[in-house]
């Protein structure tokens, strides 16, 4: 073994990967707390798949890929909501229909476009090959989303916890939901380079679920999720350097191991077992 354990830190590209990966992990982790509590875990899945046609079309039109991705991701989220409101089909089914439809459209469009648009990189990311320009883009996007979410974290929490109460208080619930979805779409756009649209789903669910097992207060949940996700991401990138394996897959697997650890730590969920709620009058 002639590669030193510090080897990864000697490469410029690895340092960039650590920076981009950590940022993306933090943004996704913060959002995952809201998604897990709101019951929108599938939403991350759907929006991330749905960005594909937008990317291809943006490429064809010569627009920035991020713009196309954002537009089609948001189209999926709002389209799902709209169809749901006008039909009796269950929400999760509608979402499945819409996002697979958009993803399939993206695939067909991609086949029809003779391009150097690497499908592999869109799907699974290319963190170790990130370029300075892309790093800057990721930083701006991820930093912006992070700032907005943290600034609005209490309002967003209210909307996630008790939607009807939010409306009663006079907050524009629909607008808040749309904002959360837009932030989600932006976070996914920022993550494409790092982990790709297929595995970003994990980063949008696992940290929140892990933190939920460990702590009871929402602010603590945000902190634990973010900290855990960033550390897992560093470990994942580090491991993938030596294993010469898919970086995204390594990150996700380390996060999953974190979930298993939390599961064991919380002693079969007994830590969080709620006291019996008082019987409420009829």
């Amino acid at each position: 073994m002639n590669v030193s354990l510090l080897e990864p830190f000697r490469h410029e590209f690895m340092l960039q990967a650590f920076a981009a990966g950590g940022l993306v992990a933090a943004v996704c982790a913060v959002l995952s707390c809201y998604l897990v509590l709101r019951g929108w875990s599938l939403m991350g899945d759907a929006v991330s798949h749905a960005v594909l046609p937008g990317i291809v079309l943006a490429y064809l039109a010569g627009l920035p890929l991020g713009v196309g991705a954002f537009a089609s991701g948001l189209l999926c989220a709002t389209g799902t909501g709209w169809i749901k409101r006008h039909t009796r089909v269950k929400e999760d089914t509608v979402m499945g229909v819409v996002f697979t439809g958009l993803f399939a459209l993206g695939l067909v469009l991609h086949v029809r476009t003779p391009s150097e648009l690497h499908l592999d990189h869109i799907l699974f990311g290319n963190l170790l090959g990130i370029e300075p320009g892309q790093l800057r883009e990721t930083t701006i996007l991820a930093g912006g989303v992070l700032a907005v979410v943290l600034a609005l974290r209490r309002t967003l929490l209210l909307a996630a916890f008790d939607p009807s109460h939010t409306r009663v208080l006079g907050f524009p619930l629909r607008a808040l939901d749309t904002l959360l979805l837009a932030l989600l779409a932006l976070a996914i756009v920022a993550s494409i380079q790092a982990v790709g649209i297929v595995l970003v789903i994990a980063m949008l669910i696992t940290p929140g679920a892990t933190a939920f097992l460990l702590v009871r207060r929402f602010d603590a949940m945000l902190a634990v999720a973010t900290g855990g996700a960033v550390v897992s991401t560093f470990i994942g990138i580090y491991v993938s350097f030596f294993a010469d394996a898919s970086t995204a897959a390594c990150i996700v697997l380390v996060q999953a191991l974190g979930f298993v650890a939390a599961l064991t730590l919380s002693a079969g969920g007994r830590l969080r077992r709620r006291a019996a709620p008082p019987a409420d009058p009829a």
């Binding site: 599938l42 399939a104 695939l107 086949v111 595995l199 969080r272």
Partner: protein
């Protein structure tokens, strides 16, 4: 386009195989999709289709039948989900998400570790145009089995989906029905994997059912309709993909989604326009009741 060009796909053996195998898979998935959508298992379908990937990879590396590996890994994932769900207060959808992404990531890890042996593209996007004869035999066996089980048990599964409590009070083996449905789901997932790939399998397993659900109020009719829609779109998609240099899965699913949108807008009773017409009629008759 001349007629010759349109008939060209039928002159290749591989296309003929792809066409009839896709049609078969489409029909079987469409049949099952009625149960999946009504049981509220759409996310489960998505999850299982991702979770089978490591099984496919390992089976390939070990030289075992792909179906066996996929099936095992799908069931392992389902078991892991029910275990975690039992042990934690985390919401079900999040649990499913955590488990299936972990399985899928493991599959991707395997593929990235053995790029020479495992073809990422064919696992993720399917490759029905180059399907091996052995795989065709497996698919036919799976399809026949699924159709047979559904034909014999559909009424029990209907009751189980609609009102599991009633099924239990009648002494039906509810746990066995649950397992049956899960096994059917895994089996069809394995079959559909070959046609459309891991990411789009879920469409085959829900879109025809959701479309049929918009077109009829009877469960039996919904099953038949879903199956017919699945078969037709799979056939047409495979046919179209001949002219699109591949992307069979993409073509099939785009067609299925179009079908859904058509039913959503033009459905005779539950469609958007029908609902709008009904509302307008209501307004004319009794303006006071109008929203």
């Amino acid at each position: 386009m001349s007629l010759d060009l349109l008939l060209q796909p039928f002159s290749y053996d591989y296309m003929l195989t792809a066409l009839w195998v896709s049609t078969l898979i489409g029909a079987v998935c469409g049949l099952l999709s009625g149960f999946i959508t009504l049981k509220g298992w759409s996310l489960m379908g998505d999850a299982l289709s991702h979770a089978v990937v490591p099984g496919v990879g390992l089976a390939h590396l070990a030289g075992l039948p792909l179906s066996l590996g996929a099936f095992t890994s799908g069931l392992l994932a389902a078991a892991a989900m029910s275990f975690v769900k039992l042990k934690t207060p985390v919401r079900e959808d999040a649990v499913i998400g955590v488990v299936f992404t972990a399985f899928f990531a493991f599959g991707i890890l395997l593929i990235s570790l053995f790029p020479a042996q495992l073809d990422l593209k064919s696992i993720i996007f399917g490759n029905i145009l180059a399907i091996a004869p052995g795989d065709v035999a497996q698919l036919v066996a799976i399809s026949v089995l699924c159709v047979a089980v559904l034909a014999l048990q559909w009424r029990d599964l209907l009751l189980f989906s609609f009102d599991p409590n009633q099924a239990r009070t009648l002494g039906l083996p509810v746990r066995r029905l649950h397992l049956t449905l899960l096994l059917l789901l895994s089996a069809t997932t394995v079959a559909a994997l070959q046609a459309v790939g891991a990411i789009l399998v879920v469409a085959m397993l829900i879109t025809p059912g959701a479309t049929a659900y918009l077109l009829t109020d009877r469960f039996g009719r919904m099953l038949v309709l879903g199956s017919a829609l699945g078969a037709f779109t799979a056939f047409a998609g495979a046919y179209a993909s001949y002219f699109l240099d591949g992307a069979t899965g993409g073509c099939i699913v785009v067609l299925q989604t179009l079908g859904f949108l058509l039913a959503f807008v033009f459905g005779p009773k539950h469609g958007l326009l029908a609902a709008r017409r009904a509302r307008r009629r209501l307004c004319l008759v009794a303006p006071a009741v109008a929203p």
